[in-house]
């Protein structure tokens, strides 16, 4: 119900006090679907108001608050403070299996670090896409190492602590060698997907899918 205690601002001659004008600007900026110009404010507020001054006060009042008074073109609006944008996002995390290209690239970096892109390509026998390297860097599993002191001074890649943590390794030298891989049965049979050593990896994938379904 209308608060009768508040002064009625319908006088043609006397503008409401600045505090009231500030309240009005605040309410208008809040409720209007688009940014509002000073001209519009003048048009909507009682005669004799000074929206520009009220805006200046209001702007100061909202400094450092969760929302700020911002100018958009020649109009004004209330907007979420830049540093609180993260509150407007709801994150859902989806876990996916790394692509084969990424795993192979990662493996080469792990076994051969420090290694240049050209060397990775030589070992894989195919070119390494930019996206694959970027993805591994973003995952913080590989990072740039020292430049190689060869012509062109190519950059090298090395694995990170994050990589070691993720794969449960003390250091990259702990990675099993080819012989060990073979004796572990990893090299003997990889006939087609769905058999032998792949089994474990598949279980993993299965797991992920389950999680997806549960979400």
């Amino acid at each position: 119900m209308s608060n009768d205690a508040k002064p009625k601002n319908d006088s043609l001659f006397e503008a409401p006090p600045m505090g009231e004008q500030e309240r009005m600007v605040e309410a208008i900026l809040f409720a209007t679907a688009d940014p509002v110009t000073v001209t519009e404010l003048t048009g909507r507020m009682p005669h004799g108001c000074d929206p520009a001054e009220a805006l200046a006060h209001l702007r100061k009042r909202y400094e450092g608050r969760g929302v700020n008074i911002v100018k958009i073109g020649d109009a004004w609006a209330i907007r979420t403070a830049g540093d609180l944008g993260f509150l407007m996002q709801k994150e859902t995390v989806e876990t996916r299996k790394l692509s084969r290209a990424a795993i192979e690239t990662l493996a080469i970096v792990a076994y051969h670090q420090p290694v240049t892109r050209a060397e990775i390509e030589e070992i894989r026998g195919v070119s390494v896409s930019r996206g694959t390297v970027d993805q591994l860097i973003e995952l913080e599993w590989i990072r740039f190492g020292r430049r190689r002191m060869t012509p062109g001074r190519p950059v090298t890649f090395v694995v990170t602590q994050g990589f070691l943590d993720h794969f449960g390794l003390e250091n990259a030298r702990d990675l099993p060698g080819l012989k060990e891989l073979r004796s572990a049965g990893l090299l003997d049979s990889r006939p087609q997907p769905g058999a032998g050593a792949l089994g474990e990896a598949e279980d993993d994938e299965d797991d992920n899918q389950t999680e997806l379904f549960e979400d």
């Binding site: 309410a27 407007m88 996916r96 795993i103 493996a107 090299l187 006939p191």
Partner: protein
């Protein structure tokens, strides 16, 4: 509670006038209770002091009037009229102790309660609608920011994936076991194919070892495989009647020759 001294005729005269005024827009009433509430206002007393008997008579007069004007009243108005006539008789006659059910006073009190309650609800509704309302008197945020659903994808791999990936690259040749194996294995079909081409030239007894393909005798595995395949193919050809096979003694060389038809 009811004024027994109330004269029926005096009521009907004054109230019939009111009823006639109301009857014009009978359609405006939301049912008999609404009509009763409207009629009760003519008594100009608090609803709690209202005379239900008088109200019943007002209502009956109204219905009477409507009949006279040949206005068709909805059934529930007539049901109410019947019920009020019954109530009126109960209120006017001395209570019959043998009769079961609620007394006239009880029924009248309930009707008074219903009227008061309807009136109260109408007033409450009016108060409610007089409140400041969202979108009319006060407002919600004009510029809304939807909560963005950000889907973050994380990637995972196991140590096993990593090792297999590496193994795959480093042993690209080894790593296609079937392909690899085929390089060292000759199937019977391959041997058969090969021998069908060669057998036409084998008029004389020849050691089947000479049918082994070049380069398959160095590696023991390859030699075993190709020997077995060639022997199996020979048996197959013999069965088909294309060749003859003989072996001089145990572990002696196995010889074959083309079978001459109809010899």
């Amino acid at each position: 509670m009811q004024d027994d001294a109330f004269q029926e005729d005096t009521v009907s005269v004054s109230e019939r006038v009111a009823a006639e005024a109301l009857i014009v827009d009978v359609g405006a009433f939301e049912g008999p209770l609404d009509l009763l509430l409207t009629l009760s206002r003519t008594q100009k007393v608090d609803l709690r002091q209202i005379s239900i008997l008088a109200l019943a008579e007002q209502y009956l007069a109204f219905v009477e009037q409507a009949k006279r004007l040949r206005l068709e009243l909805a059934a529930d108005y007539l049901v109410m009229a019947a019920w009020l006539a019954f109530l009126k008789s109960r209120l006017l006659l001395p209570p019959d102790p043998t009769e079961e059910g609620p007394s006239g006073e009880e029924l009248a009190a309930h009707l008074a309660f219903q009227l008061e309650r309807l009136q109260a609800m109408r007033e409450a509704a009016a108060k409610l609608m007089a409140r400041d309302q969202l979108g009319r008197d006060f407002f919600a945020r004009g510029i809304t920011e939807d909560v963005q659903r950000v889907r973050r994808v994380t990637y995972t791999a196991t140590l096993l994936d990593l090792m297999q990936g590496y193994a795959r690259i480093r042993t690209r040749d080894d790593f296609r076991p079937f392909v690899m194996d085929r390089q060292h294995v000759m199937t019977m079909e391959q041997a058969l194919e090969r021998m069908r081409g060669l057998i036409g030239f084998a008029g004389d007894w020849t050691d089947i070892a000479s049918y082994l393909p070049d380069g398959w005798d160095a590696d023991p595995q390859r030699r075993r495989s190709t020997t077995a395949a060639t022997f199996a193919a020979s048996l197959e050809l013999a069965k088909e009647g294309k060749i003859e096979i003989r072996q001089g003694e145990m572990f002696a060389p196995i010889q074959i020759r083309k079978k001459v038809p109809d010899e």
